[in-house]
């Protein structure tokens, strides 16, 4: 089954500051990247879709209103990976990944062999199976992020929301993590919505892009349609040159200078 997310005219304001204005789009079985300058509403949009922030307008998952679902129902459909997670308690990697099974557990229900199998597969998919019994407090940033992704996969979600999942990591971890997420997205027919700061990473990783500016959708569509020097100059206020990536053939942004208004 393939899940479809429909976002209909949503708006959100932090007290009096409007962060999102009338955002409407649809995603289905593809990787949608959200790009835009700081304060353009990227993370706010992701939080609204995750149901953490209550927005005006409607967010539908398979034609069901997200605010009609309880947290466990949402968690069965949607896994969320934040920018960085801080865990100060010496739990093991397996403990953390098994937390992903919580949406399927009733009170007093214990972890089953089945849950452990699912956790094992999630750890294998993210390349941390050998760390299963290590303490999360002893892991590097990259390893920990893989643990958190494995935990989201253990939820067996159909939707994956990523909030700058690799912004704290080195290039090798960045490519590795985005690589296996893309592979999983194809294998399991996931719908992925990911926020990015790095335009080139977004261009290479995503099927479609959405460029946000001041809480509104400035452009949405194929990577080539969104990543244009015109769009980038208007939204980010910088002059850029767009070239074709020699290997991936995707647009690549070369920064030139700040644009003068």
């Amino acid at each position: 089954m393939v899940v479809k997310i429909k976002v209909r005219n949503i708006s959100f304001a932090y007290d009096s500051i409007e962060a999102l204005k009338d955002v409407t789009f649809e995603v289905k079985k593809e990787i949608l990247g959200i790009i835009g300058p700081n304060g353009s509403g990227k993370t706010t949009l992701l939080k609204c879709i995750a149901g953490v922030l209550k927005s005006e307008g409607a967010i539908l998952i398979d034609d069901m209103q997200i605010n009609m679902l309880d947290r466990k129902e949402i968690a069965k459909k949607m896994g969320v990976v934040p920018q960085a997670t801080i865990i100060t308690f010496p739990l093991t990697v397996l403990d953390i990944v098994l937390m992903g099974r919580n949406p399927y557990k009733k009170k007093l229900e214990f972890i089953t062999e089945q849950d452990i199998k699912i956790a094992e597969n999630a750890m294998k998919a993210t390349g941390i199976y050998h760390l299963a019994h290590r303490l999360v407090t002893e892991l590097s940033g990259g390893e920990l992020q893989k643990v958190i992704i494995a935990r989201a996969l253990a939820q067996e979600p159909e939707i994956l929301l990523l909030d700058e999942p690799t912004s704290h990591l080195d290039v090798s971890h960045q490519l590795e993590i985005l690589g296996f997420i893309k592979k999983l997205a194809i294998e399991k027919e996931l719908t992925v919505i990911a926020v990015f700061h790095d335009l080139n990473l977004a261009a290479n990783f995503c099927d479609k892009l959405m460029l946000l500016n001041k809480g509104k959708i400035f452009a949405i569509g194929n990577v080539e349609e969104v990543i244009t020097s015109e769009n980038i100059r208007k939204v980010y206020n910088v002059n850029v040159e767009i070239i074709k990536h020699p290997v991936t053939k995707k647009p690549n942004v070369i920064l030139i200078s700040p644009a003068k208004d």
């Binding site: 995750a50 947290r71 968690a75 896994g79 934040p82 100060t88 992903g100 949406p103 935990r151």
Partner: protein
């Protein structure tokens, strides 16, 4: 990969349960008239065999001995166990919820609220509920304190942990000031207030056991039911929401029941410090941070620890007594420091 820890957890619980039974018997034997104790000249000591038979309702033993064992010592030991278990479990839940090593059952100012409730009755001499007035007043003011704190911290249906903490400190200070005022205007009752504040189990009776036990058992069971949620919330509240935890509801339930058990025991024993703060830390070092084992083992260890501490208070300067809080700190702190230095598994400090 095996479904690992279940077996280890059962063993821990079994060991601690045996230790609890053992400490109850040991505590029964220690005392002026007991097999372990200096005795009173010209009076026969109570033997270990006698204690067993009295407990089982067998044999024909002197009524005074029976009443020492059944009416004085046993309820006191039970009450010490209940108080210790309640404080340690509530403290453990609060530390997990606040993700803060300084958290104790008193973190939201419950102790100051209860102290004000008790001192109000002591000074005013009110007696609407007869001899129970002081306990009921302490209990009510503890609940009022947390109710006020919770509602101060609540904003748009969300209660951030940091705001709760600050509101707890503020409201606690307010009640502390009121307690100071009560002390200031009190005359001869000052001694009573100071004694109540130090906490102790000297006024134990079966009646106190009966009123606290159901509340404490209920509260502990509810807290245990939320151990998985507590674990998940250790990785952050937003993460917990993404993993299907209703964070606000969980927070409310944990606060409510931790408050309930704390208020129940504070109202019968006064403010006994240290147990609720340190026992969960000790157990975190010993069994690890997973609340599914940490909460029940803190509960049992809290009971064992307070039974021992209380037994010491009544045997060190026989026949007089010391406030149990002095003993808990004097003996608990060195042990805690030893564990802290030996095995720093939880890097909180």
């Amino acid at each position: 990969m095996k479904a690992y820890y279940k077996k280890r957890w059962l063993l821990i619980i079994a060991y601690l349960s045996i230790a609890l039974l053992f400490s109850i018997f040991l505590a029964l034997m220690i005392g002026v008239m007991g097999p372990i104790g200096k005795g009173i000249p010209d009076m026969e000591k109570i033997t270990a065999k006698e204690i067993f038979e009295i407990l089982l309702g067998k044999g024909n033993w002197p009524a005074t001995h029976k009443s020492i064992i059944l009416e004085i010592r046993l309820p006191r030991i039970f009450l010490a166990g209940i108080v210790g278990a309640a404080l340690a479990t509530a403290g453990c839940a609060m530390q997990g919820l606040f993700r803060n090593p300084m958290a104790s059952p008193y973190i939201l100012g419950i102790s100051s609220g209860a102290a004000f409730g008790a001192s109000l009755v002591i000074v005013s001499g009110l007696g609407i509920f007869g001899i129970y007035t002081m306990q009921i007043s302490a209990f009510l003011f503890a609940l009022i304190d947390v109710f006020v704190v919770y509602n101060i911290a609540k904003y748009k249906g969300v209660t951030p942990i940091e705001t709760l903490l600050l509101a707890g400190i503020a409201v606690g200070c307010f009640f502390s000031a009121l307690v100071s005022f009560m002390k200031y205007i009190s005359g001869e009752e000052l001694r009573l207030i100071v004694f109540w504040l130090m906490g102790g189990l000297w006024g134990s009776s079966w009646y106190k056991v009966y009123i606290t036990f159901p509340l404490v058992i209920l509260g502990i069971c509810v807290l245990l039911l939320f151990s998985r949620e507590l674990n998940i919330m250790l990785t952050g509240e937003t993460s917990a929401m993404h993993l299907g935890v209703d964070v606000e509801a969980t927070k409310k339930i944990i606060l409510l029941f931790a408050t309930l058990v704390t208020a129940a025991v504070v109202s019968v024993s006064g403010i006994i410090g240290f147990v609720g703060l340190i026992i969960p830390h000790i157990m975190r070092i010993v069994v690890g941070p997973d609340h599914r084992i940490l909460l029940p083992s803190s509960c049992l260890t809290g009971a064992i620890f307070l039974i021992f501490a209380d037994t010491l208070t009544r045997s060190i300067i026989q026949p007089a007594e010391m406030p149990v809080g002095i003993i808990t700190a004097l003996f608990g702190v060195p042990f805690f420091i030893y564990l802290l230095r030996r095995k720093r598994k939880v890097k909180w400090w």
